[in-house]
């Protein structure tokens, strides 16, 4: 008998279910998974954009709203210069077509390396309740670009701000045939409080998260 069988048998014996579970019990479990009902939710009578800005800022992200995606190179350049950061960035392929020459930022669309300083990504959506970005992995959305560099800049259309994590899952189920390999919810720069419970921004991931919201898609 395999370890799996032994563990399952122990579980069934403990629950007083010696034999295989009955068909109706199985069906009830499968039905619950298929229906995936929502639990109780906290009050959400706020405006999604205002709430997202407020929560994201509270979690030490910075937020900028610009009219359209064409303005991203200039907005990125403005941010990097103001922060006196490197003007070289690794980007997701989706942003390759933008006119980067105007802002003076040198970009490369490729996988991130350990020594890249700035990473520019999109996001699948953003969650207003907590001020969180939701990123999914894929051939054109490499996960490491938001992780290895010291500065992470995310570009998100305002229309992709959803209320809560529940809406994010619904959107994912509607738009992706299967669960992506990695779904990462990002809420501000990496941090640690391991030394004397003193919060320090910048641990193994980015030191800074800058979110550029584009008002039109």
């Amino acid at each position: 008998m395999s370890a799996k069988q032994r563990i399952i048998e122990k579980i069934r014996a403990a629950r007083g279910k010696q034999a295989e579970p009955s068909a109706p019990v199985r069906a009830a479990v499968e039905r619950y998974l298929a229906q995936h009902p929502e639990g109780p939710r906290p009050r959400s009578d706020w405006d999604a954009l205002a709430r997202f800005r407020e929560r994201a800022t509270a979690l030490s992200s910075t937020v900028d709203v610009i009219p359209s995606v064409e303005g991203v190179p200039a907005a990125v350049a403005g941010y990097l210069k103001a922060q006196q950061l490197s003007l070289e960035a690794v980007i997701w392929p989706a942003f390759k077509a933008l006119d980067w020459s105007r802002g003076g930022v040198a970009v490369e669309a490729r996988q991130a390396r350990g020594d890249d300083l700035v990473g520019i990504t999109g996001a699948f959506c953003a969650v207003a309740e907590t001020g969180t970005l939701m990123l999914i992995s894929g051939a054109f959305t490499p996960a490491a670009v938001s992780l290895l560099p010291e500065t992470h800049i995310a570009v998100v259309p305002v229309s992709r701000i959803v209320k809560g994590m529940e809406e994010a899952w619904s959107l994912l189920r509607a738009e992706c045939a299967a669960m992506p390999r990695a779904v990462n919810f990002v809420s501000g720069p990496s941090r640690t409080a391991d030394i004397e419970q003193t919060i320090n921004l910048g641990a193994h991931g980015p030191y800074r998260v800058h979110i550029i919201l584009t008002a039109s898609d």
Binding site: P21, H36, N184
Partner: protein, 470 residues
């Protein structure tokens, strides 16, 4: 991890006398408590959400076999390999085999309490695999060769100075004094390990039956690095961690970080499903999930089943006056504080941890803050009952209880005894009416305080007197 819970009393005395530890505990005490108190105010329906969370965990435990099978089916469909381990040795053997098959020389590890249960690092090192802990706290402990003292903040017992010393000695760089400098140095030292490790090891805060995913909540980003960069990812977790759906995870996530660190959400919530897809440039090529029983199934169907609801937030220890006073190491195993006082005897044998359920005033702070409403003091009391039933208490205690039971059933003898005791204690109290030292057997009570002496008359005597005078 080797069990040292049988030495609780000696260890606790030692910790009380440890000036450095007491300083460290005093510095951090209250931060978690205040953080949680503030964070739960964000949820006006906090208690409703706790009830929902409890129901989710109970639903899983009711049909644990079926949810685990669903999880395995969905994880396997995405190219993950699911392993089952009845105990720590089996889990270690499985993971060492995985390392051997994939030619693993180095593993970068994210924090996992189940791996501490198994002493996985020792097993891997013995198999010739270098293991690098990458959570800052766990990394510090690896340098110091110490076990964690808290399940969320493993290095809460160490001062910044001690950490500066450790880094200076091990990194051989100029001594860093400030927290940001220490964190920067750890990042610089650990970054190459993430990039060169063949295997990433993580735990799982939850595993999702609906999608076959494993999920970790982290702040540092090391968990993401461990599950993204190396070509092999191994997730090790307990069989009770399964949660039915993504919506259920969402409900639990509203409680976990708030109860743990006072955050409304952790910096990262990372959900990993299956292996690298065609065309993807990152993510592991091999994904192994090890489901560990190690005593958990034994709790099902018993008085202690509610303990399996636990989502490992650590709120019970943060709020425990005993934990706050002695720290986590004295408890002698992976899980300290109130949750450990149930889990340790349950997993490693009630006879190996006799003091833990007794190291509690039953004040119920832990029960009040538990996000999934585990009645911790009630379970502690049940463990005490079990100790008595199994005759595991010392003979002196059993004799004393038997004498008391005999006297309590004989009103004459009982009231005579009470009268004598009240008079004697009054005399011992002297003019100060304080007893500085109780006789052997009860002397522990007066070690750090005085006992107020009784007035000299028993309740019965006063009652009779007053009703006569009415």
């Amino acid at each position: 991890m080797q069990v040292r819970s049988m030495h609780f009393k000696a260890a606790a005395s030692q910790k009380l006398a440890d000036r450095r530890l007491q300083d460290a505990l005093r510095k951090t005490q209250g931060k978690f408590v205040a953080g949680r108190a503030q964070a739960i105010l964000e949820l006006e329906n906090f208690d409703e959400i706790r009830d929902a969370a409890r129901r989710i965990r109970d639903r899983v435990l009711e049909h644990l076999d079926l949810y685990l099978e669903q999880f395995e089916r969905n994880a396997t469909a995405r190219g993950a390999v699911v392993h089952w381990a009845e105990n720590a040795e089996e889990a270690n053997r499985i993971i060492c085999d995985i390392a051997r098959v994939h030619g693993v020389k180095k593993a970068a590890k994210s924090k996992s309490m189940v791996s501490e249960e198994c002493a996985l690092n020792d097993a891997l090192e013995a198999a010739g695999v270098q293991v690098v802990e990458t959570d800052l706290g766990e990394y510090i402990l690896q340098l110091a060769n110490e076990p964690p003292s808290h399940i969320v903040a493993p290095v809460v017992h160490k001062s910044k100075d001690e950490i500066s010393d450790l880094f200076e000695r091990h990194h051989q760089r100029a001594r860093k004094e400030s927290v940001p400098d220490l964190c920067r140095e750890a990042r610089e030292v650990l970054r190459p390990h993430f990039l060169s490790a063949d295997m990433g090891i993580s735990g799982a805060n939850f595993i999702v039956a609906e999608t076959g995913s494993t999920l970790i909540v982290t702040n540092e980003g090391n968990g993401r690095l461990c599950t993204t960069m190396p070509r092999v990812h191994v997730a090790i977790t307990g069989i009770e961690k399964v949660v039915p759906t993504l919506e259920d995870v969402t409900t639990l996530l509203r409680l976990l970080p708030r109860s743990a660190t006072g955050q409304s959400i952790t910096n990262y919530v990372s959900v990993t499903t299956g292996v690298r897809a065609p065309g993807e440039e990152d993510g592991p090529e091999h994904f192994h999930i090890v489901l560990v029983d190690n005593g958990r199934s034994r709790l099902l169907g018993t008085d202690f089943q509610a303990m399996l609801r636990c989502i490992r937030c650590g709120a019970c220890m943060n709020h425990c006056p005993v934990y706050q006073t002695i720290g986590g190491h004295a408890y002698g195993w992976v899980y300290p504080g109130p949750m450990g006082s149930i889990l340790t005897p349950s997993y490693v044998g009630i006879e190996n941890a006799l003091d833990l359920p007794n190291a509690s005033t039953l004040c119920n702070q832990c029960g009040v803050v538990c996000p999934v409403k585990i009645p911790l003091p009630e379970l502690q009391r049940k463990l005490r009952e079990k100790q008595v039933e199994r005759r595991l208490r010392p003979w002196t205690e059993r004799l004393a209880l038997r004498l008391w039971a005999y006297a309590a059933a004989q009103p004459e003898i009982y009231s005579l005894g009470a009268r004598l005791a009240a008079r004697m204690l009054r005399r011992m109290g002297g003019s100060e009416r304080l007893i500085h030292r109780l006789p052997p057997g009860a002397s522990g009570w007066t070690q750090g305080r005085d006992m107020p002496a009784p007035e000299g008359k028993t309740f019965h005597e006063l009652y009779r007197q007053r009703s006569a005078g009415r």
